[in-house]
Symmetry: C2
Subunit: 451 residues, 2 copies
Amino acid sequence: MADEQIDAAELEELMRRGDVEQAALLLSELPSGSAAEVIAPLPAEACSELLRALPDDEAAHILEDLPQDVAAAAVAGMPPAEAAPRVEHMAADDAADLMQHLPADSAQAILDRAEPTAAARVSGLLAYPERSAGGLMQLELIAIPRGMTAAAVVDTLRAGAERYATYPASYLYVVDEEGRLDGVLSLRDLLLCRPDERVARIKITNVTTLNAGDSAEDVVRLFKRTHYLAVPVIDDGGVLLGVVTQEDAMRHAEEEAEEDLLRLTGIAGGDEFRAMPVLTRSRRRLSWLSLNVLLNVLAASVIALYQDTLQAAIALAVFLPIISDMSGCSGNQAVAVSIRELALDRVAPARVLWVVGKELSVGLINGLALGLLLGGVAWLWKGNPALGAIVGAALWVNTLVAVVVGGAVPLLLRRFGRDPAMAAGPILTTLTDVCGFFVVLALASHYIHLL
Amino acid sequence: MADEQIDAAELEELMRRGDVEQAALLLSELPSGSAAEVIAPLPAEACSELLRALPDDEAAHILEDLPQDVAAAAVAGMPPAEAAPRVEHMAADDAADLMQHLPADSAQAILDRAEPTAAARVSGLLAYPERSAGGLMQLELIAIPRGMTAAAVVDTLRAGAERYATYPASYLYVVDEEGRLDGVLSLRDLLLCRPDERVARIKITNVTTLNAGDSAEDVVRLFKRTHYLAVPVIDDGGVLLGVVTQEDAMRHAEEEAEEDLLRLTGIAGGDEFRAMPVLTRSRRRLSWLSLNVLLNVLAASVIALYQDTLQAAIALAVFLPIISDMSGCSGNQAVAVSIRELALDRVAPARVLWVVGKELSVGLINGLALGLLLGGVAWLWKGNPALGAIVGAALWVNTLVAVVVGGAVPLLLRRFGRDPAMAAGPILTTLTDVCGFFVVLALASHYIHLL
């Protein structure tokens, strides 16, 4: 594998010595993706300075390849008049994503100073919701009038070669006089046909299209189901607006999957990276934690109701946290399987009963196994079979409840248009805790003479 | 968006009436990706029957697009003599993936009956580790001798048009007499050059390549850093072996991210889908759960050590599960952020101290906030400020421990070559439980006169 040997430490050293020129020169020699990788870990001010020392178009390509939060921080550190020409050289969709990560007034200040045509393209894209085909599409595509011959198309390509070099084009798009999509032309067919052949005769007409309003989920599903490299986006009148590439769709899908992981552990209100300010990170974690602590108090108040029972059989206090924790674990496994099956389209949100049935069978087996294990430990420890029976039975029942609830809640959330990952955790934990504490202590208070 | 209106229910109905012919006919009309989507939810026997009723090449394309476990179940249900011609028509890399999901003897029986050249290609691919560039590459590529002219290349393409139609080719690969990679030729350059131009003059020579032994992680990293649609794979002698497409690399990355979610909740020993047999699902979940129950017993035995203290201040029993659960939650957030930063290359596994520092600051703030909240509840509930102080202080200390351990463990696991997602959960929970129980009960036993 080709390996670039300039690393962040070397750059940081140069920056610390104030040698921005030399650092920028080193950076210039890398492909933009590698340059982005090298400067991403630097402090935002250093990134800003480096990007200002590079030519506009080089800085633009690096900005396209930086993670959006890093790019936004770097651009926020430049005067708008210096940011504008760099943003203007970016692909319009990447520029629009970047604008969305800036405060509204800084974004406007930059667009006001940018070249009007480029700024209009970016503003146009900003009108589409971020998580829609319109929000994912790019504007860089080659549109061909349908009357042309193959030879004329080749001439067009040759004339625009420099401009088209960065276009993701294995396909050209054939449009009519009103800009409506009329067909797709593959480079391969163009290469193999006779020069005097009309575009209208070699174009592919049975074209899969996306509507600008289609959800990002539908876009990802389409690319997963097919092997298309790019799909054109049209408006309700059939006018060609842009193109979503497989790359953009798959990157979006991967980011979503990575975000599930954060949301599942209750990091709300946006991404967390450790390079962010501590108060932002703290706040994003804390909102969910403080809700959770209150739910926990609610659940634990069941224990307070049975305080006398607990005092009479204090050994139970050892097992309460175990039952609570184990049911949480079993339940989270069911949550994870549901989230994944939903993400991979392996289960429809309406099939709650099917999921409940599948979870019941696993819960019966696993609950029995875990109940026997924990009950056995309790019996051996205190030499009291009744203690073992109560603890074991409670864990069995609670495992059942946990997997059924854990399996079903993500589907229900999805059905009501919510994110399946977000609330499954706290709802689940509270429910299983209440249920677990109640079963142990109610059983114990009924059989208190045996303990 | 183009929408196909045949669904699984309709097919299932036809299958139930024994009308396999009609069902296969309906399926034939769909693109292979949609057909795969429609039949994936059917029982394995129905999938087998349908695929046997379709022509070999159509069945092969659907098999390529089915999830691997579903495809394997369908093929396992056919006699090897009927499976062989279908596998033989698959892309060699998809066929190899499929063979890896079959029992070794069934896979061998199928390959023995397949056409020898096709079987040899598949067997050749099976020699590479699944998670390597060799394991991810496909063999379908167009290699061009370097002496050719552009016009001769176009003739070659025209002659092989039918065979090349399914190749993911925006690029052709130029090789020397020994099959060593000499350069890459883009369709676009081929289209724009003069017909008598020599391939050697228009080829791209500064080509990024992968070595067959490169890890899947390196492959994914390369595609994330660049925008290449495909990267050639060579052996140590520079001989061209195959090509990894962006699509295959990104699919692999997405599967990995989805799998993290399962592994994080302790589903071990492979994927889980609810369509799998209940005992497999039960076993994959149970191995980790039973380990966890024993670790939980270990942690809770701290409570047993302080049984007298607890009996004297039974109100504490309400707060033990809360402190255990809340520290688990805080710790898991730190785990998720670390796993994500590792996956996105935002932190090097060696930067443990940096992570610890970042987590300490968040832990101090969040621990204080949560401690005040829970301590306040305890004080109000029992009217005892000492109880509030002990509970609050314990939660603070324990939150700190949890986020530091949770942030650091995934990095340490990665440094020692383990999967960061696998063990973070149980290690973390046990440690925080021991620590939390100990802090609460040790403080309480010291200040027992105040409670």
